[in-house]
């Protein structure tokens, strides 16, 4: 099955499929459903320096073809992840992407410095969609120079390649992508969730206790595809694509747009077997499309066609 293989900075993936951060916990639960060694990689839940409980409930709400979440980065903190979650995951021969979050640059730096030294962490994924307390709560990911600075500081201390996870809630995604590339990012993950909201008609208040939440699922796929298409042509670092992936067809669409690997988030909730199912169906779909190796797809929508955008 070497036709599914993908080599990315730090990640030697047997196939291009990984669960997306926050949608797969630290792997334990889904290990009851299938062998985690089937996966190309695993992006674990965001880790912050300190343990966090996160937001009050309700934390999720359904929307048409999507869902909102405002989990609030609940996690056992750096120590908990290093002492408990990562050792448990080390039984699997599957590269781990450690997602890192924080509210100040120092948080990110501390967490990355330690996490990136753990043997079975193969790459760091910087979640720059978090609100930055120093900048009055504006997300790091919406201001190019802030995103770049964060990337640079984190790269300085990281023992492993760093993927910066971009927020789609910006006017010009290319600008941010270029800024973090210049600051030394080894790769990009995109997209994180779109900021959204739902209101309970009877209670006259937001369904989420937090008010706003992140929109994910197939509803946002066209935005993800567009941004990956834009960014992959503007940078030289690889992209892990995500946003509404549910099927092998979706994976191909993301790779044609310019992604080198693909993460599956919300779809795990709809179907806990979605990742192995996609991996299973990919070879047949490649045959149907006359594609030899999955890597041949990367950027196929702009590498081989003469449409100017």
């Amino acid at each position: 099955m070497s036709r599914l293989k993908v080599e990315l900075p730090g990640l030697s993936m047997r196939n291009p499929i990984m669960p997306a951060s926050g949608c797969f916990g630290f792997g334990k639960e889904y290990a009851n459903y299938f062998d985690l060694e089937l996966l190309g990689a695993i992006a674990i839940k965001a880790t912050t320096a300190e343990a966090r409980f996160g937001n009050p409930t309700p934390r999720v709400a359904e929307t048409t073809a999507g869902m909102l979440n405002a989990i609030g980065l609940q996690n056992p903190g750096l120590v908990g992840v290093m002492n408990k979650e990562l050792p448990w995951l080390s039984q699997f021969n599957t590269p781990i992407v450690a997602n890192v979050a924080g509210t100040e640059i120092a948080d990110y730096v501390e967490t990355t410095a330690k996490l990136s030294k753990v043997e079975n962490v193969h790459a760091i994924e910087l979640n720059i969609s978090c609100p930055n307390v120093k900048q009055g709560g504006i997300a790091f990911g919406t201001i190019p120079h802030v995103a770049a600075e964060l990337t640079r500081e984190v790269k300085n201390v990281s023992d492993k390649p760093v993927y910066v996870k971009l927020s789609p809630n910006v006017a010009d995604i290319i600008e941010i992508a270029r800024a973090v590339e210049e600051a030394g990012a080894d790769g990009l993950s995109m997209i994180n969730t779109l900021l959204g909201m739902r209101i309970d008609l009877r209670k006259r208040k937001p369904i989420l206790a937090n008010g706003y939440g992140g929109l994910s699922g197939p509803a946002i796929k066209p935005v993800a595809i567009r941004m990956i298409h834009q960014v992959s042509q503007a940078v030289d670092i690889p992209i892990i694509g995500m946003g509404g992936v549910q099927t092998a067809e979706d994976v191909v669409e993301f790779m044609l747009a310019g992604a080198s690997a693909v993460a599956v988030g919300t779809a795990n909730f709809t179907d806990p077997f979605v990742c192995p199912t996609i991996i299973d169906e990919l070879p047949g779909l490649l045959d149907e499309l006359g594609v030899d190796k999955v890597t041949d797809l990367i950027g196929g929508s702009w590498k081989t066609c003469n449409v100017h955008l």
Binding site: C23, P58, F269, T270
Partner: protein, 259 residues
Amino acid sequence: MIKKDWLTISKQETIAANIMELTCSGPLAKQMTEPGQFLHLRVDSGDDLLLRRPISICDVNVEKETVTMLYRVEGKGTRRLSLKQEGEKIDVLGPLGNGFPLDATERGETAILVGGGIGVPPLYYLSKQLKNRGVNVIHVLGFQSKENVFYEKEFSELGETYVVTADGTYGEKGFVTDVIKEKQLSFDTMYTCGPTPMLSALQSTYSDRRLFLSLEERMGCGVGACFACVCHVVGDETGTSYRKVCTDGPVFPVGEVVL
């Protein structure tokens, strides 16, 4: 162990205002031995409703491989579910969660099962199993109004049953807590499922008793991975301890979690 499978609808009918009784069959039913557990249903394969719906197990016939669920038609998902016909299949994940502990009540002891509204269904399977184990069961079932009452006869066949309606249109008038006091019902263990205000009232009144409460929370995954359904732990000073309703619960002993 199978954890996700297709069940076939063998019967679906309205049994009270907006309340559907759905019976399905399939080998997965054989694993549904623990009352208080729930199933996570995918209403259909359309991509507009992405999340599964948690519905409690109301009754199971392990030999015949059938499971019954009772649900209230609320929003888009349950409305669409209610249109499904006999013979159609549904994608079911489960059984999930930790149910009611049967062995908390000894043979010969009395258990009082207190249900409110759509919290009543899981108590039925619980009652059957307790009774099978020689436990004396009493039921106190609260509903909004007469038209919402269901399963009175079914529960009555297992033990003493009090129906309470908020508006007094059927049975006793008031809240389940009133009835327990007025009738001076005595019990060794209390098992309950229903709206949070009811659970809170019971928890504060019976905090020193053997009491088990089944909670409800909006869910993402239903399997413990997404942290959508957490609650705080009583007495936790760090504020970071938690329980997940989907995997640690939905049933918790009194005093464990913050309601």
